[in-house]
């Protein structure tokens, strides 16, 4: 082993790294909320009896699911800032990287959430919709009051697992030079010539967080299996 480890640049940069972790969590949270809401709308479109809505939902979901996230982020980073600046006539100096990363993530992840939610909706027995309609609820009311609450409960483990994947994926905003947790670790490592230590540290932190979360999801899943 020729390499000599020197972990001394980590303690001093903890505040900077924490700030990065904050950015990662912010993007995760935003994508999660928007993804769930827009994902639900898309899932309902895909199951809608109205053909154009169904086509749009299907096209959207399949398109986003067949291109890589890195590419989507890259394009949002290259194209959207220009577009935003032209539309809102912002000065070119305004930093819209975080916003465009958030928008890119949210739009991309909603395609995945839409599929999970669609599967959840389809896991609810058909009789529920028939019964709700027979009771005089409109289709939207039936969805909102009867189908979705049951569907969401079935989906909780899958949604959380997808959230862990999403948190891991936020490291990809590295392509837009945003200092998320990974970006921050890379910057510190690059500055101090200690890339080895910082990258291993980043990997360890991601591992601990994601592993703990996935155990939590398993705990949530257990009581469900019994009944």
């Amino acid at each position: 082993m020729a390499y000599e480890f020197d972990w001394s640049s980590i303690p001093g940069s903890i505040p900077f790294l924490m700030e990065g972790l904050g950015v990662s969590l912010k993007i995760t949270a935003c994508a999660l909320v928007v993804g769930m809401v827009w994902g639900t709308v898309l899932a309902m479109m895909r199951l809608s009896p109205v053909a154009p809505l169904r086509w749009f939902g299907t096209l959207y979901v399949n398109l986003f699911r067949s291109v890589p996230l890195v590419m989507v982020l890259l394009w949002f980073f290259l194209l959207i800032p220009q577009l935003l600046q032209q539309v809102f006539s912002l000065s070119p100096a305004t930093d819209v990287r975080l916003t465009s990363a958030m928008v890119g993530f949210a739009l991309f992840e909603s395609a995945y959430y839409a599929e999970i939610i669609r599967a959840g909706i389809q896991s609810v027995p058909k009789g529920q919709l028939a019964a709700a309609t027979a009771l005089g609820l409109s289709r939207l009311q039936a969805m909102r009051l009867v189908i979705l609450p049951q569907a969401l409960r079935n989906m909780v483990p899958l949604l959380l697992t997808q959230a862990i994947v999403l948190f891991q994926d936020t490291s990809l905003v590295y392509v837009s030079a945003l200092a998320d947790f990974f970006g921050a670790a890379y910057k510190v490592g690059d500055r101090d010539g200690r890339l080895v230590e910082l990258l291993l540290f980043a990997g360890a932190v991601y591992f601990v967080l994601c592993f703990a979360l996935s155990r939590l999801v398993q705990l949530l899943q257990k009581p469900r299996v019994q009944h």
Binding site: A2, P68, F182, Y206, F211
Partner: protein, 245 residues
């Protein structure tokens, strides 16, 4: 907002003077994406089968090791793993090996790191499918195989794995699709695959929308081809009498 569409840009020779057109760059990127993904897929299938089997064997130590392998690879982001393979492993290896790696041409280093990283990353996911496939088989199959005098390795090789693989073709299809998409992450270490070529095209031609559309279409094409081929495989290998296939 007036954007000058110019699709003929793909037929133009590149400004760097390498005798290629911009369409040539795109095709080179497509070739690289396919090469990396296919090589990584082979590695993922082999490692995934081994680890998936180890997760179901009676030996506790082997099972634990296989579980640790899967958890580590599944809970660290792909990008971090890629950087570890590319920047860190050569530093941690014995000096002579590390130097030997660093003396390789940069594109060989990138390709090697990309294939290893993507292959092992995906192998953890494949192994979960293999394990699920094996576990879905009735326990009687193992017992019958052992009762007939097969050893445990023979039972896996001749009875359990052939069945398990036929059952898990659909989830493997989506992992196969993922490996193509994940290969785009390798553009961050400088590998000139499809997404990287697309970005290069923007830098040289300032025609971002054409480039965007072309790259997207190529990924769609990959998706359609893979889904078609795997659909054929699925029909060929389908086990009669099982639901959901």
């Amino acid at each position: 907002m007036s954007y000058q569409w110019n699709w003929s840009v793909f037929a133009q020779e590149t400004v760097v003077g390498d005798g290629s057109t911009y369409a040539g760059w795109m095709l080179a990127g497509l070739k690289m994406t396919v090469t990396v993904s296919l090589c990584a897929w082979v590695l993922a299938l082999v490692m995934g089968a081994i680890v998936g089997v180890l997760r179901t064997v009676p030996h506790k130590g082997l099972r634990g090791a296989a579980t640790a392998y899967v958890e580590v690879l599944r809970n660290i982001p792909l990008l971090v793993q890629l950087f570890i393979w590319y920047f860190i492993i050569p530093e941690l290896l014995p000096t002579a090996w590390g130097n030997a790696i660093k003396q390789l041409p940069p594109d060989a280093q990138q390709l090697g790191a990309a294939i290893l990283c993507l292959g092992l990353f995906t192998s953890a996911r494949v192994s979960e499918q293999v394990r699920a496939g094996i576990e879905s088989l009735p326990i009687g199959q193992t017992r019958a195989a052992l009762a007939l005098g097969l050893t445990l390795p023979q039972a896996y090789r001749l009875v359990l794995l052939p069945m398990a693989f036929r059952l898990i073709v659909p989830p493997l299809t989506s992992e196969f699709l993922n490996i193509f998409k994940n290969s785009a992450v390798c553009s961050t270490i400088g590998l000139l695959e499809l997404a990287a070529q697309g970005r290069q095209l923007v830098d040289y031609t300032a025609q971002p929308y054409e480039s965007f559309i072309a790259v997207t279409l190529m990924y769609l094409l990959i998706n359609v081809v893979v889904m078609g081929l795997m659909g054929l495989l699925e029909r060929k290998t389908k086990v009669p009498g099982y639901m959901g296939q």
